[in-house]
């Protein structure tokens, strides 16, 4: 049978955000995948160059809505290094605590999405209802459900009271109980397991060579976690295990995330019980000496990377963000090859894609000779109208004022 190409996206019911996946099929089997990005570019890096560091803290928070704390912590860590300040222990503990609570909310959200994509909507309803417990915790300690804004340069902005500590510990019990139930359902329910087992295979060698990150690479049996490999904040003091699975499919990714949830609960409990006393913040300077830094952070989706270059003023010279989703695209292309059409949403959802996080820069590259070029807005407009005419359309409609003038002249 002849091969044919189907464009999935930029707008497609299976996708929550715009991305173009051009797939070549042989019957129902995917043969080739071409990922095209750039439909959701927001110019955040350019914006960061025009804002002061403290303003950028809230801008980087808005790179992603689900891992908002990841981006600000990554940015704050880097800038603190540039400012040569060390946050106090209590501040770092609270920062890490919020990070782990965020991981719980992100993994519960993903479990629900995985259930939904596999056609198991009851699972989706259960996990999202229980995620509300986590959201309430976050709201009570930071003042907001999504953008916690708990970080500042040199520590955190809010302290945790004894009463809040107790509430978190109390709700952890319920969360643990519910997660045990999800583990039972997610790994033993025959219909669900049959749907996800063996789908989206990624071998250990491929995962390594394609530089996959986060639960995607851990599900292929590789112990890769920034928290263990290059500990930041207080991760060298907290006992935890890096969860892995050997199956390398969507089932493995479910197992890794569910096991990580239990590790998170352990870490949250440890941090709350061993919260050091003292200040939560130190004074930070406004201006930053000329230097450059790379900051790494293990976001719920994988390794997050910020490069910051300072130039002696209160604004950064350059900010470069590498979100985990971008690192997972090459691996996704390999996972999709050889799968069925019906598995595409499931495999794509399994990397927990955040498309707008990964949209950084748009460069036009000529596919034929690989040349990159910059196109001005005027040229783009000209190209568009040429294309419009080529499609058999009439030239741009004349404005009403010009038409009125014509009528007046005739009369």
């Amino acid at each position: 049978m002849e091969e044919f190409t189907v464009p999935i996206g930029p707008q497609h019911p299976a996708l929550k955000e715009p991305i173009s996946l051009r797939m070549t099929f042989d019957g129902e089997v995917v043969k080739h995948v071409d990922v095209r990005l750039g439909y959701n570019h927001r110019g955040m890096e350019k914006m960061a160059e025009e804002r002061s560091y403290i303003q950028n803290l809230y801008l980087t928070e808005r790179i992603c809505g689900i891992c908002s704390h990841s981006h600000t912590t990554c940015f704050a860590q880097g800038v603190e290094k540039l400012m040569e300040i060390e946050p106090p222990k209590r501040g770092l503990y609270i920062r890490t605590l919020v990070a782990e609570i965020e991981r719980v909310h992100s993994h519960l959200l993903w479990l629900g999405v995985a259930g939904h994509e596999a056609g198991f909507d009851t699972f989706f309803m259960y996990t999202w209802r229980d995620r509300e417990i986590v959201m309430d915790i976050l709201e009570s300690i930071s003042g907001n459900r999504v953008h916690y804004a708990i970080n500042t340069f040199g520590g955190v902005r809010r302290d945790i009271s004894e009463a809040q500590k107790q509430t978190i510990l109390d709700s952890l019990g319920l969360l643990k109980q519910r997660t045990e139930y999800y583990t039972n359902i997610g790994t033993t329910e025959p219909t669900f397991v049959a749907r996800i087992k063996g789908v989206g295979k990624l071998s250990k060698e491929l995962a390594l060579s394609l530089c996959a990150v986060g639960p995607t690479v851990r599900a292929s049996g590789i112990k890769s976690d920034v928290r263990k490999d290059d500990p930041y904040a207080v991760y060298n003091e907290i006992p935890f295990e890096v969860c892995t699975a050997d199956t390398g499919d969507v089932f493995g990714r479910v197992v890794v995330r569910v096991n990580e949830l239990f590790e998170c609960y352990k870490m949250i409990e440890f941090m709350l019980k061993n919260l050091p006393v003292g200040d939560i913040v130190v004074k930070a300077p406004r201006r930053v000496k000329e230097n450059e830094v790379v900051s790494r952070y293990e976001a719920p989706r994988g390794e997050n990377l910020h490069y910051i270059k300072s130039n002696g003023t209160d604004k950064p010279e350059r900010l470069k963000v590498r979100a985990p989703t971008l690192a997972n695209y090459p691996a996704t292309v390999e996972m999709l090859k050889g799968c069925f059409i019906a598995d595409i949403p499931l495999i794509f959802a399994a990397i927990d894609p955040c498309i707008c996080c990964a949209e950084r820069m748009v460069e036009l590259v000529n596919v034929k000779n690989g040349e990159a070029s910059v196109v001005s807005f005027g040229d783009l407009k000209k190209l568009a109208s040429e294309q419009y005419k080529k499609c058999g359309n009439k030239p741009e409609p004349v404005s009403i004022a010009k038409q009125l003038e014509k009528i007046r002249r005739k009369s």
Binding site: S52, Q55, Y58, G143, H147, T152, D159, P190, T191, K283
Partner: protein, 138 residues
């Protein structure tokens, strides 16, 4: 398959007699927790017009203009339609003149209706006791 249905049964029965997880929103409202970041408010009697809030606002939602030079009168406009509710203004203010209330139902038909204006006389700065502008105030 029969065994699997039995495994689900206790969970199913539990949910039959459970209270619903959601509330009837417009008629029944959830209470925002203590320290919730709602709408920013200004306490004009404390403002010394240092414009630290204007400088640090990431959304450029705050604006202070002089109304009368001789009377030292100023007008502050809080563009609540641009506000991202980060409460950095509350942290930046050296005199505690900014605060956040629990107002979160901000839907209006015209975004200009979200503007909040304060016309006030600049207050003279009180002698500072502990000069720590970076400490958080919640």
């Amino acid at each position: 398959m029969k065994i699997q249905i039995l495994a689900f049964l206790p969970e199913l029965l539990k949910h039959l007699f459970r209270k619903t997880a959601t509330v009837d929103y417009p008629f029944q409202k959830l209470v925002a927790p203590e320290g919730f970041r709602g709408t920013p408010v200004l306490y004009p009697e404390k403002c010394i017009v240092c414009k630290a809030c204007v400088r640090d606002c990431p959304a450029e939602a705050l604006e202070i203009v002089s109304v009368s030079e001789t009377e030292k009168k100023f007008k502050m406009t809080i563009h609540n339609d641009r506000c991202v509710h980060c409460a950095q203004c509350v942290d930046s203010c050296p005199t505690d003149a900014m605060g956040m209330n629990k107002e979160f139902e901000l839907a209006v038909f015209d975004r200009h209706n979200l503007k909040i204006e304060y016309v006030y006389v600049k207050s003279t700065p009180a002698p500072r006791t502990t000069p720590t502008p970076n400490t958080p105030k919640t």
